[in-house]
């Protein structure tokens, strides 16, 4: 199921001009505020009527200005998960959950309440009203309400942005389960590269209303021009070697061993890890007497001074043919002082490694 997003819309001196296609799975719209993410999602939802364009999920055409087709929002068969939940305050959680299902055609009522309630863990909330729920609970109910509407496309507009870190960590796994267990395409808006790394099958990076880059996350996340210097990261595939008694998991990554606080994956599993460029230090020689455990060796491929005091240094790590890249964000001053140049061998010291996907196989879509 291909997601087609062709939208041209001009308003208040801002022009959104997007023409992009994404394969099945989770498509993450990434970009800074004001880049047009929400505008694009609202055009998909029918809450905004663009000047021109074509929006389709597979053969389900929501908008085609050339064919004069425009479905009103209520006939688009969506599940829209909003940033602020938008639960109906006068209804109980159960009534909220079943609201969309009531309007769905009979053959679209594939999800049943029991399964969704169990998956989201909201069984004890069913008779309460939204006013009495915490932020995380509200968002779980909002996810359930969208699912039960029997949607052909799920939209999520920064569903975690209003939550604190602990609640984000609570909700994110539910979106991973949606991706892995529900076969509905998901269009997910985010400005967090960590969410992109964990959820995305495809990333569409927007800047000032245009597509700066689109593709699989491993490719787009390392693209400094598309992501911005602050959000560049590497996605590496590593294999779980062993779980140790001190609470760490040993991974064999390209170019060296990586250590993570214990993860759930069994030894032998390939997982995907995300390393933010800001968390990488470079050393010309293998450093001695350093507390950081994660060290990867590689060869400098490119040095790109940024517009500010920063510079991005890209390393090729692991076997030549694997093509794994790691990006480090340094100051231009360190680049000059160390005399870093393409072709040099280098040791990357990684402060933080985050698990991006439970299993790399699941993500390679």
């Amino acid at each position: 199921m291909t997601l087609t997003l062709q939208v041209r819309h001009r308003f208040d001196g801002f022009t959104l001009d997007v023409d992009v296609e994404a394969p099945a799975g989770v498509t993450v719209l990434f970009g800074p505020s004001g880049s047009g993410k929400t505008t694009l999602v609202n055009a998909v939802a029918g809450l905004l009527r663009p000047d021109a364009g074509r929006i389709a999920a597979g053969d389900w055409v929501l908008l085609d200005t050339a064919a004069r087709r425009w479905l009103p929002p209520h006939r688009r068969r969506l599940g829209y998960i909003f940033q602020e939940g938008r639960l109906f305050p006068h209804m109980t959680v159960r009534q909220n959950l079943l609201y969309g299902r009531w309007f769905a055609p009979r053959d679209a009522r594939t999800e049943n309440l029991g399964r969704v309630v169990e998956m989201l863990g909201v069984g004890h909330l069913l008779d309460r009203r939204p006013g009495a729920l915490s932020g995380g609970e509200k968002q779980r109910v909002a996810i359930g309400r969208a699912l039960l509407a029997g949607p052909r496309l799920i939209l999520a507009d920064e569903p975690l942005a209003a939550l604190d870190e602990a609640r984000k960590a609570e909700i994110l796994p539910y979106f991973e389960r949606l991706r892995d267990e529900v076969s509905v395409p998901i269009l997910y808006v985010s400005h967090s590269s960590a969410e992109v790394a964990r959820l995305a099958t495809t990333v569409i990076a927007l800047q000032a209303g245009r597509v700066a880059a689109a593709g699989p996350p491993a490719q787009v996340l390392g693209d400094a021009a598309a992501m911005g210097v602050r959000d560049v990261a590497a996605l590496l595939v590593a294999r779980v070697v062993a779980h140790h008694d001190d609470g760490l998991t040993e991974l064999a990554g390209p170019g060296g061993t990586l250590w993570l606080p214990r993860i759930a994956a069994a030894p032998g599993t390939a997982v995907r890890v995300r390393i933010a460029a800001g968390d990488v230090m470079l050393a010309r020689d293998v450093p001695q007497g350093l507390s950081a455990l994660n060290r990867l060796s590689g060869t400098i491929e490119a040095v790109a001074p940024g517009p500010g005091p920063d510079a991005l240094v890209t390393l090729r790590i692991g076997p030549e043919d694997a093509g794994e890249r790691l990006t480090a964000r340094l100051t231009r001053r360190s680049v000059t002082e160390l005399g870093l140049e393409p072709g040099q061998a280098c040791c990357a010291v990684v402060k933080t490694v985050a698990l991006a996907h439970g299993a790399a196989e699941a993500a390679s879509g």
């Binding site: 929002p73 909003f82 938008r86 109906f88 969208a146 939209l155």
Partner: protein, 236 residues
């Protein structure tokens, strides 16, 4: 209590009280659908002539009631254009009937009703309605399942306010439908009539007490009901 009230009040007074309640009840109920529609239009729609409509709705509030009553008489009276039309085609006669009193009371109370409902509609978050639309609800369904329940406190408050106003309506009523005992003599007209005859003070005083009790009861009821409903609507 009904019997006791009827016994305490003289038959003419009791008749006026019952008529007032009937007139006000129907005036409120009949103007409610139009009141919600006009309030919705004023709160949400942009259309040419919106300010004119707003002015028309509020006109009875600022015009001398006698003027409103006279305008009703020349349009809805038996010689008035609308009055003739209603009589010929539907057999409805408003002038000098209790139905005419209800029309007068309804029009005089309309601005208060519309104002309360309009404020309630403006307080509804349109993003909730958008959310309902994305979940498959068409416009009428969005209104019935989201907007209407959320503005219910405003509708109740507006209705009770309109009812109380209708009970007290005097100028437009007496001008339009006169002061016929049993037909168009509501509490205020009856008080006025009793005060015109020697020895009528006692009857007038009793009706004044009734008027105060009805007004207070309406206010308290409105407060109570809209608080209950607001609690449900607020979702706690």
């Amino acid at each position: 209590m009904w019997d006791w009230a009827a016994g305490w009040l003289g038959p003419a007074e009791w008749q006026a009280v019952r008529l007032s309640l009937r007139v006000s009840f129907w005036a409120t109920l009949a103007s409610l659908p139009l009141g919600i529609l006009v309030a919705y239009a004023l709160a949400r729609w942009e259309f040419p002539g919106k300010q004119v409509l707003n002015g028309l709705v509020h006109l009875p509030l600022i015009l001398p009631p006698v003027v409103t009553g006279y305008l009703l008489l020349i349009t809805f009276g038996r010689r008035g254009t609308v009055g003739q039309f209603l009589e010929q085609w539907f057999g409805i006669v408003l002038s000098f009937r209790w139905t005419g009193a209800a029309v007068a009371a309804g029009i005089m109370a309309f601005p208060l009703m519309v104002r309360a409902i309009r404020l309630a509609i403006e307080a509804v978050d349109p993003r909730l309605e958008a959310a309902a639309a994305t979940l498959g609800a068409s416009r009428p369904w969005v209104f019935a399942t989201v907007t209407l329940p959320l503005i219910l406190p405003g509708i109740i408050a507006g209705s009770i306010l309109a009812f109380a106003k209708a009970i007290g309506e005097f100028g437009a009523t007496i001008t339009f439908v006169s002061n016929i005992p049993g037909q168009t003599q509501t509490i205020p007209s009856a008080i006025y009539a009793f005060l015109q005859v020697p020895g009528g003070q006692d009857a007038a005083t009793r009706l004044v007490i009734v008027a105060i009790v009805i007004a207070m009861a309406a206010l308290l009821l409105s407060e109570f009901v809209s608080r209950r409903v607001a609690r449900v609507v607020a979702g706690t």
